[in-house]
């Protein structure tokens, strides 16, 4: 009986993952590529600077959302702290890509935090494109665009709630 339940859960998981186009192997790949790109210390600060500058270059209006956390100057202490928080959140999501139950819990948590802020879909798209440029710059050849694009969709959908 227990095996049946496990199998059913597994089947459901596979169905969900393959429907979204971010399958188990892609999830593992994204996890390992992320841990290299995420790096640490000053490298991580530079990595996050690059991502946020790429976002604001595409959607300058988005800066207004970050006024309270020093968004006018991406190098300000408040904004560095904020951008590290965001990346820490993304780090949790990516780390949990292969633990569906906990991933769902974290996505709901982040969805609640973002709901009140009414973030337009194209800002998420700008985030995806920014990652799409900064990640390969950080990782060189060992970067799988499709896997990242597919798995980012899972994350963005979860935070947006649609």
């Amino acid at each position: 009986m227990k095996i049946l339940i496990v199998l059913a859960a597994l089947a459901a998981f596979v169905a969900v993952t393959s429907a979204s186009g971010c399958d188990k192997l892609q999830r593992l790949k994204v996890k390992s590529q992320w841990s290299r790109a995420y790096s640490s210390g000053h490298d991580r600060e530079d990595f996050s600077q690059a991502i946020w500058r790429a976002i604001f270059a595409q959607v300058p209006d988005a800066r207004a959302l970050f006024k309270r956390v020093g968004g006018d100057d991406t190098t300000s202490a408040d904004f560095v702290a904020h951008s590290m928080r965001v990346l820490a959140g993304l780090d949790i999501l990516i780390a949990l890509l292969d633990q569906p139950e906990a991933l769902q819990a974290e996505l709901s948590h982040l969805q609640k935090q973002h709901d009140a802020r009414h973030i337009p879909d194209n800002y998420f798209e700008a985030f995806r494109l920014a990652l799409g440029h900064v990640l390969p710059a950080q990782l060189g050849r060992c970067w799988d665009k499709t896997a990242w694009s597919d798995c980012f969709d899972v994350v963005a959908k979860g935070i947006k709630g649609h």
């Binding site: 640490s40 210390g41 560095v80 820490a88 906990a102 819990a105 948590h109």
Partner: protein, 170 residues
């Protein structure tokens, strides 16, 4: 001449810096960051991290049973469940963020200030819980990390805890 000016400025800077950070020196910060990084090397490290944080949190509510109620909405009754696992990762990632910002004092202050706000907003969180958390953590970390410099960690974490708890009433 220029060299002398540079040296003097450097000396003045060090003297000014000394007052606030001699307890967690540049070398202390280096050591903490280097020793902490070991935890994050593996792709599967999220399971280790969540497991470690889970143990710390369970030990915390063992030591301070009245604190358990604070974690009801993250489902502490099912510590292996997804909700609590995600929460454990949030805690350990906040620590990770602080450690990685150790050598950017201003950004670190801003990040800790934000954490202080988040804990201030939770009625019932007390300084003594953080004291207990810190004690459990400093017991546990050397068991997890092969290289652990007690003095460096202690001197750097003292400041972190002080700032996170700075907005708590009790």
């Amino acid at each position: 001449m220029l060299r002398l000016v540079v040296l003097l400025v450097l000396a003045a800077f060090c003297a000014a810096e000394e007052g606030r950070s001699h307890c967690c020196s540049a070398e202390d910060r280096n050591i903490v960051q280097k020793q902490w990084k070991v935890l994050w090397k593996d792709t599967e490290s999220s399971k280790v991290k969540a497991g470690f944080a889970r143990l710390i949190m369970l030990k915390l509510i063992e030591a301070k049973p009245e604190a358990k109620a604070l974690f009801t909405n993250v489902d502490i009754d099912h510590p292996l469940g997804g909700t609590f696992t995600a929460h454990c990762l949030r805690i350990i990632n906040a620590l990770d963020m602080a450690i990685n910002l150790l050598d950017n004092q201003d950004a670190l202050d801003s990040a800790l200030d934000h954490l202080a706000e988040q804990h201030h907003a939770r009625a019932g969180v007390k300084k003594e819980y953080f004291k207990a958390f810190a004690d459990i953590m400093s017991d546990a970390l050397p068991r997890l990390l092969d290289d652990y410099n007690y003095m460096s960690w202690r001197s750097c974490f003292k400041g972190l805890y002080a700032k996170i708890t700075s907005k708590l009433d009790a």
